[in-house]
Symmetry: C2
Subunit: 159 residues, 2 copies
Amino acid sequence: MSGFDPHAFRTIAAECPGFQARATARAITRYHNACFRPLGLTAEQFSLMVGIGATEGATLVELALSAGVDTTTLSRNIQNLEKRGWVCADGGRGRAGKRLSLTVLGRNLLADAIPVWRQAQAELARRLGDGDLQWARRALSALAIAAEPSSPGVLEDAE
Amino acid sequence: MSGFDPHAFRTIAAECPGFQARATARAITRYHNACFRPLGLTAEQFSLMVGIGATEGATLVELALSAGVDTTTLSRNIQNLEKRGWVCADGGRGRAGKRLSLTVLGRNLLADAIPVWRQAQAELARRLGDGDLQWARRALSALAIAAEPSSPGVLEDAE
DNA sequence: CGCCATATAGTGTATATGCATTATTAAAGG
DNA sequence: CCTTTAATAATGCATATACACTATATGGCG
């Protein structure tokens, strides 16, 4: 019969990294969406295009694995990017899979978007402190791996 | 004309807390969704119901503010919970706003769900280390505030 | 050559998310 | 009492997310 009072619930809310992770992702995404809006680009679309640029020629499955997203989600998100002409997905289908790459239009858009991202990043680092940003990224990465040990490093810097 | 090579893109991907925050939120959400599936509950629904229990009698706007979610999103998510009979939203409309509360059915469901959450939490802490979990939560909170300085502490433990 | 096992892409459905906008309602002022 | 004003809830639209399932194509094997 549920012996939970408001304080018990508050404790759970405060202790759950899932609450925090979703709330933080929402906040940062709203922040970046506002930055990219003038370019007609969402934060996730920017992420995806950078991911494609980083692994030029990768298949959908490979990109999904490195980005930590389901292949069916990625399939639809890629379709959105293709419709806009920013991304090209072709090459042999089947075992080999489609090869993803940025179009010239896509690269041009990113050439505009990346300075915007740099400024947003600098502002974030200013508010948070440069060290704390590094710190936060490491904590996020550790959390993701703890939640899904099977997942790879989620686009870790390889060097 | 876009002098960006794969390595430049990888650097951006590795430096962007937005990428990481979304990927981490997805991973934790998948993890919790799997835990709650036998109960017919999603991770976000659990979060929401705990949030309602923590601020019993709050209005939609107040809950949206404390959870760091848009009121229109919350409106629809609450409707889902109402349809299932887990949450009740009534009381004077207008300036005062509807008052949100858990139904008996909702409290009973949470009585089943909270032990599941505790176990998931313990497993996460085991994989990550107890100190690192605290650390990660603090980093997430700091990031959310940096991204949206106007937002309150996002369901901080008040004491 | 044709069948089968496997991997890959895509659909159906449901939830989650937020901006722009509309509907509703309570309070304030004359 | 009526009108204006402001707050609140909800809707339209588009994107994002993932599980269950389907479609398709590839490569191996008899």
